[in-house]
Amino acid sequence: MTRLLKSIGQLEWLRNEIRAAHPEDKTVVMVCMTGCRAYGAAEVFASLSRVIAEKNLAGVEIRATGCHGFCAKAPVVAIEPLGVQYQAVSPDDAQDIVEQTLMQNRLIDRLAYRDTRSNQPVFYKNQIPFYKNQTRRVLANCGRIDPTNVEHYIGHGGYEALSRMLSTMSPEQVIDEVLAAKLKGRGGAGFPTGQKWKLAREAKGSPKYIICNADEGDPGAFMDRALLEGDPHSVIEGLMIGAYAIGASQGYIYVREEYPIAVQHLRIAIDQLHSLGLLGTNILGQGFSFDIAIKMGAGAFVCGEETALMASIESRRGMPKARPPFPAQSGLDGKPSNINNVETLANIPLIITHGSRWYGEVGTEKSKGTKIFSLAGKVNNTGLVEVPIGIRLKEIIFDIGGGVPKGRKFKAVQMGGPSGGCVPREYLNLPVDYDTLQSLGAIMGSGGMVVMDENNCMVEIARFFLNFTQSESCGKCAPCRLGTTQLLEILTRISKGQGRMEDLDALRDIGKTVTETSLCGLGQTCAKPALSTMRYFLNEYEEHIKERRCTGAVCEAMVISPCQHACPAGIDVPNYVAAVAKGNYANAVSIIRERNPFPAVCGRVCIHPCETKCRRGELDDSVSIRLLKRFAADWYYDNMALPEHPFPVTSRKKVAVVGAGPAGLTCAYFLAKAGFGATVFEAKERGGGMLDITMPEFRLPRDVIIKEIEYIERCGVTIQYNSPVDSNHTVNDLISEGFGVVFIAAGAQASKRLEIPGEDESIEGLYYGLHYLAKVKEGDPISLKGRVIVIGGGNVAMDVARTAIRSGADAVQIFYRRSLDEMPAWGKEVDEALEEGILIHPMWAPNRIIQADGVLKGVEFAKSRTVFNDDGTSRLSVDKSNTRIVDAEALIISVGQAPDSSFLTKDSLIERNLWGSLNVDRNTLSTNISGIFAGGDFTTGPSTVIEAIASGRRAALAIENYLNGCVARIAIRDEKTCLHETTGLALDGEVGENAPRVRAHRESPRLRRNDFREVESGFTESQAVAEAMRCLRCDLEKERR
């Protein structure tokens, strides 16, 4: 029915006809047929069409549309005017959608979006947070119209801008309107579009060309693709307006060959426009002539650069030229040319139709309008997002994007691809605009946003981008050709663990030179990924160089399997998991003991960094490594006798260890294993240190600690209880008693004070966390009655609160001065506390303690809030005018612990640092005095059990070196055990992906809160074997190759 439109009146007549034929109340089922195709959208479409035909639903239109944006939930189907959106639709769902929703207006629960917190269904598109928080202007048609049907576009107001412009505006007026709209180029550099057009308009020469740059090559960006596939006419209309403004009669669209659907949709669109007379000579009878040709790229990233792009259109090698002359003076074929990006052009019709005033209603002072971002990487809601410029990054990633999956920690967001940089967590509160991002070392770029979590390595990311730019450098100018190669070589060296500290300066130097001297944007920006990661994650570079450790557990040269690398103690996890799978439980424990003499303790209370990094977690759930360790250890103590013989003593040298906590005992164990005599001096009558003092019985029963210590003693470690090292028996005394080395691991057992008015330790009802826990563990429960307040947000605070509720408190409330997200306590402990009925009040800071006659009456809290500094970082501000008094019978303060070094004599020459602990070399744990070492919480402040164990082993290795007269630095490498198991486990058999982790039994909160029974039970044997079989054995990957 297409016909030649000869006047503006005819176009408007056609529009009215189309609108009459498609009344707004007509039911339309929209199926995304571009991005969602990979998930079987075509089958869904066919199946829906078939069922609709079967049911004879004449009034229902089924429409193949472009991208709906919510790619994470593909395939997506929307139903208008109902406003419903269904996700993850399969062909089998068609019957229900038609029969229930279309015919009976009934909503289908299983296809609805689920609220991430409440898990309640959200049926209506405009209520889904992903859409609710967006401002979809440019993408308004995308996902609503059939991109292969020009009538849909016209019916939705398409080519209205064109007809308005042709009938009422001069080219200068168009340029003025675009200038007034403060539209900046969306392709990367952000040059004002109106300005660009003005220069092209004023340039002398003819013909002039206008080019649409659709060579979207930035890895991580796909908004141009979605626009071309889902709404090609909006881009074409923008191109026509630009042509009119600058005076061009020929346009080119340079599109990547990797986007076949985009090319196809553009071809269809251009054909339709030819037959409508909207392209060609004398368009709509207004004397404007314009035509468009499509040019396909041939796979060269540098062709995104405008001079290179023009060379490529001319069928030459796509190499950039020096500027000036600028394309506006001498571009394609030496004629004045103008290049705009796809998204920029798609903004133009909106500006002309609605005016610059409307357009400028959103955005910042300097740049108006919206920007489309492609959200990808480690984020829940991947997809296309359109937001006002100036929105906070946090809103995009967390409110719209739904945050980082699997409860992992956000690390950084990469913006602008190979020309851009990373923005770390601290700056998420800053507005997204061109200038702010520039100042952070990132760029707006084309809008690619790749989210990275704690399992990504920033050195590796920089290497990845340099690898890309190095291979895409065209080679014309030396700085870029050689600079990218050098940068890549250095980064590769660092990621292989062969870096030197001088390399960091070299990276900066070369980066600066390449940036300043390269010919085109590719070279001028290629160093940014390296420089920006060095700016924010220098510690990761240093760890790679100095310790050969990769925080993200990614770099292949230093990582055998991520779990082992993530473990501070470096246990060969895959092999002991395999040993469990094979039923060799004793072997499993032996493998663990190679690095950690506390298998049963860690099987209960370890924070398991290994599980966070587990590869299986990428498939479904990570392997439950901690519970496997617990099972093997419990089995060992139940079935195996303790060792009969200690490790043979092969050296006459003796070592004294101060403190029988995890760090001290681990050090002594490994020294004994190495053949040295090791004696531990413990002030208390029992060993275990912090494990014994603070870990409540319901998390770590005392007999578990006793068994582990007994085992260590049987291995040849002597423990002298009730033997404090203090002014009566000093470190120097130990040395004169014949100990060649002293290792101090006295823990961090002094409770910190709040330092607020009324904090008087003599008040009845006021306790400090560690002291309280210790009393309870000693079997001298301080009987708590009534209401108990706990102040703090760490693990000790959780333990205190949960202990309080078990020892008679009526109600326990935790007050924490920061937000819930910032709580240092582990999620599992917080959840269990909440289950047990403990209330947590975040954002309340203690102001003063109220007492009457020496008896506690309550605490006054002041509301705190997070304020943002100008640089985007946040700090806490306490509002002293907004207070509340909470009455209570008891108050337990657990706001942190500090090492207590008071036992060291005043005249001791051991160097201390500012906060009272000892100054040690982080690598060898040696103090300034030869032969004296210190480690564990005593030097680091409160940390984790596994960190303390790792510190103890490090000390043992350093002391062994010292005693053998070796001065080398300690290198803790991942090593495979000699007790290896060759089973491939999950990959051996046909274990599907749908094998979620096995859950261990946990006592119900109602029962467990009344006594000190252990909350969590271990695995049964069959559970343990089944869980162990889930391991993918990624440690064998290299051997398998």
């Binding site: 991005g35 195709r37 990979a38 998930y39 790619c71 593909a74 979207e216 090559g217 930035d218 890895p219 991580g220 960006a221 796909f222 693709r225 060959e257 990797e258 076949p260 040019k295 396909m296 790229g297 041939a298 796979g299 060269a300 990233f301 490529s312 259109i313 001319e314 069928s315 030459r316 090698r317 796509g318 492609s374 990808a376 990487g377 480690k378 991947t382 997809g383 990469q414 690619g448 790749v450 989210v451 990275m452 990504n456 990311i461 990845f464 981008f465 890309f468 895409e472 065209c474 590869r615 990428e618 498939l619 999950a986 990959l987 992906e993 993918l1032 990624c1034 990957e1037 398998r1040 190759r1041």
Partner: protein
């Protein structure tokens, strides 16, 4: 399976070249047409293309080698393109590449001796929401994991063979 290196019909090649317009900027579109037809640009095409477009053979060769989209080596019947874009990289495309190398028995940039499969890597497929992703012939496969590679390769090889008469 009995696939061989594709045979180039010289007459077909000549007619493609001769029927192509000589106008300005014609080289890349012509090369694209040739590659579309044969799956690669046969070395014997360089001279006639240069003659036809009045270019030096070195210019033609230069353009072919500059663009990664052109190949002068024959490709397999099925082309697997593993995306190595940022999003895919961040989500573990390296282990996908490792598994598919193992599955196909060839390295990236190689074609199997029987010309059944080629393996390539691409900078970005623009399908970051599917990460990690690969493209087999014209189909996208997304949210991959190493365990799925085997069945995808079987599917691609198998389904296309079924279609063949």
């Amino acid at each position: 399976m009995n696939t061989q290196a594709p045979h180039i019909d010289p007459q077909r090649l000549e007619s493609i070249i001769m029927n192509h317009e000589v106008g300005k900027w014609a080289l890349i579109p012509l090369l694209q047409t040739i590659q579309e037809e044969f799956g690669y640009i046969p070395p014997e095409a360089v001279m006639p293309v240069a003659d036809h477009l009045k270019l030096f053979p070195s210019e033609v060769q230069g353009v072919i080698e500059f663009y990664s989209g052109f190949s002068m080596k024959p490709k397999g019947k099925h082309v697997f393109k593993v995306c190595c874009g940022t999003a895919c990289h961040v989500k573990g495309s390296r282990s996908i590449l490792t598994s598919i190398k193992k599955e196909l028995g060839i390295n990236e940039g190689e074609t199997s001796p029987d010309f059944s499969c080629s393996l390539e890597t691409v900078a970005c497929l623009g399908a970051c929401f599917l990460a990690p992703t690969l493209m087999a012939d014209k189909e996208y496969y997304g949210r991959l994991s190493p365990t799925r590679i085997g069945s995808i390769v079987d599917h691609v090889k198998g389904s296309r063979e079924d279609e063949k008469p």
